[in-house]
Amino acid sequence: MNSMRWIIVLLFVCMVYALPARAADTIKVGAILGMTGPASFLGAPEAKTLGMLADEINKKGGIKGKKIELILKDTGASPEKAISFTKQLIEEDKVFAIIGPSTSGESMKVKGIAEDGRTILISCAAAESIVNPVGKYVFKSPQNDRFAAIKIFEQMKKMGITKIGVVSSNTGFGKGGKEQLEKLAPEYGIQIAANEVYDKDATDLTAVVTKLKAAGIQAFVNWSIEPAQAIVIKNARQIGLTVPIFQSHGFGNIQYVKAASGAAEGVLFPAGRLLVAESLPKNHPQKAVLMKYKQDYEARYKEDVSTFGGHAYDAFMILVKAIETAGTDKEKVRTAIENMKGFVGTAGIFNFSPKDHNGLDLNAFEMLTVKGGKFVVYSDKAAKKK
């Protein structure tokens, strides 16, 4: 037994000396994403997007002549791993910037570490508290949940809906949305008559939607990113609940429409325009960026594009643009991001400022619906024609 311990210690000491020094002239970008585990719907497309973009830029010769070295780490949505990896990336790999984490919980825990380490961190998570209070080095690329909720309520007001049900999953994503819905409902004169939180692994929500039906609601909102999104609308339609169904931007992946087959028709949800890129008018400022991302991603990975991969696209390309503008000095790049205006991303058009480290507003969201099994932009006129 003693011998084993000595061997381990010896191995460790060897490791300490044996690790080679990294090559010199690259720009190291770290990425801490939840590629497996409970946030894999977010992290996996984000990781694939980053890989695709890094390769593309390196093929063209890199930024300012330097190649990008992408260091990807899978946290499995565990905060303790996120913390450990962030410290590693900042102190050992000495990365230029970090993209991620994928979830709000992880982001809040590494915010302080990035600030202390004076390293730019562009999170792919949505919680407002990531950028409010503003941390000098911490930014985020997804839209605020608040705007999604506002978009939904504005639509409900137009439709004359005053009594709704809210169902959400017990994940960080679901929780964030639920809080915004509860906070903003009174401002639009909307009463939440039924409010249920379900487990993210739930495979049947008949009982939940039955309860909603019993509460006599005029519409309901589901806020989650799991398969439950498709299950809840199926169950609702099956028990004869015919009221309008609203989803969160978590619905932004066509696999859920496919999974729900006929039940997804007519579902309304706010989302970035990535999902309806083809139907945008030719002169729409975002069209070129969206079409290119969609075509490249679908060609390379043979799967449908989702708005979550788009958050990683935005984070990475914002960083790239800032480096192209300001060079490879961290402080200058940070200031460049802060002053960036009119950046065309997948989630919308970004306008940063020292007080606004997110850069998106209500216009980032478009109200979409499902028609004929596809995502289309929702228009009141078209709906009335039916």
Binding site: M1, P79, E80, F85, D116, N170
Partner: protein, 360 residues
């Protein structure tokens, strides 16, 4: 303290100091971060090794105790008591110096429990839970015991995941540093990294010493009797139920201490610390280290947790531990050290040489 214990502890202390000096000399002090985290996880592992090895009780829910300790400490040190200032309990606590002022995320003033008091509370809560759960659970055997502990772990996980008071899926963050003495505090800041490494490993050394003393005492002999043949032990008048319960509670408290300290080091905690996969990690480590082998478990725990926290296993973290579990249980159920590999290799080499001679 037995002489052999004394020597082993001394050896451990020398290793701990040696590793730190080597890291500083090679300018790789960043490794100490993961070693500190691995140290706190080792608290769970040595407790579990005692439970599984010396009393033969499997626990597939020990991450639950780690989480209870961590979350209690986290909750008490971040929950703002200012709105309840006038409640009698709060003013009593304030007068006894248990509360402290702090600042929340938005720099507003808040009133929270002091970390040292929160830590004590964490240990007490875990003690009570372990005692209450332990009594019925330890009466079970085999599959029933495994499922009961699995059920307990799952309940803790679902509860922290579903309760918004403790942050639900996001967990708790912005946890203040835990000041042990003026100038010595548990926190993740890079300036106090070496300090924290010694705090963590100091805790492990003290914990291991206590456990070793336990093993070499009357209680330890009773435990070995229980593990060997429980009915015989009962017949000899050993109160097996009470011993098993005591060890269960001790291992739970160790896990809770690890959890509370790590939470302050990390500055946050999330539901993932209570997940069943974490419990399986701990069991896999104890299995490969050798179930009644405290040192084996400790060594393998540090090695595997260190590698896992540094991302060596990448996305295959869970499968690595699953493979280890299957491989160890198939080929070396007593742990890697007991396979007698070195002796067998030597014997095999000898046999190679002796093959030339015909059998008598």
């Amino acid at each position: 303290m037995a002489r052999s214990t004394y020597k082993q502890i001394l050896l451990l202390t020398v290793c701990v100091i040696g590793v730190q000096l080597a890291a500083t000399a090679a300018d790789k002090t960043q490794y100490l971060t993961q070693l500190t985290m691995a140290g706190y996880y080792s608290m769970v592992i040595i407790g579990l090794s005692l439970l599984m090895g010396y009393t033969g009780q499997i626990s597939l829910g020990h991450a639950g105790f780690f989480a209870i300790g961590g979350y209690t400490s986290a909750f008490l040190t971040t929950y703002n008591l200012l709105p309840h200032q006038d409640a009698p309990i709060v003013s009593l606590l304030a007068r006894t110096g248990v509360l402290m002022a702090g600042k929340d995320l938005y720099d507003a003033d808040i009133l929270v429990v002091q970390p040292w008091a929160a830590c004590i509370a964490a240990v007490l809560v875990t003690l009570v839970v372990a005692y209450v759960i332990g009594r019925p659970v330890l009466k079970l055997k085999g599959h029933y015991l495994a499922m009961a502990t699995l059920g307990f772990g799952t309940i803790v996980y679902k509860m922290v995941l579903g309760t918004s008071l403790v942050g639900a899926a996001d967990g708790l963050s912005d946890i203040p540093a835990f000041q042990l003495l003026p100038g010595l505090s548990v926190s993740g800041k890079s300036s106090v990294r070496i300090q924290n490494y010694y705090i963590a490993w100091g805790l492990v050394i003290v914990g291991t010493t206590l456990l070793l003393n336990l093993i070499h005492s009357r209680v330890g002999r009773a435990l070995r009797a229980i593990h060997g043949a429980e009915d015989a032990a009962n017949a000899m008048g050993v109160d097996t139920a009470s011993f098993k319960l005591r060890i269960f509670v001790v291992s739970a408290v160790y896990a809770a201490l690890g959890g509370a300290f790590l939470t302050h080091f990390n500055g946050g905690i999330g539901p993932s610390e209570a997940s069943i996969m974490k419990s399986v990690h701990y069991v896999a480590i104890v299995a490969i280290g050798g179930m009644a082998n405290l040192w084996g478990a400790l060594t393998m725990g540090v090695a595997l947790n260190f590698l896992s926290l540094r991302g060596y296993f990448g996305s295959h973290d869970d499968s690595v531990f699953g493979l280890i579990l299957v491989a160890v249980m198939l080929f070396a159920p007593e742990g890697i050290g007991s396979t007698g590999a070195p002796e067998r290799i030597r014997a095999w080499i000898k046999r190679l040489g002796a093959r030339e001679e015909p059998a008598p």
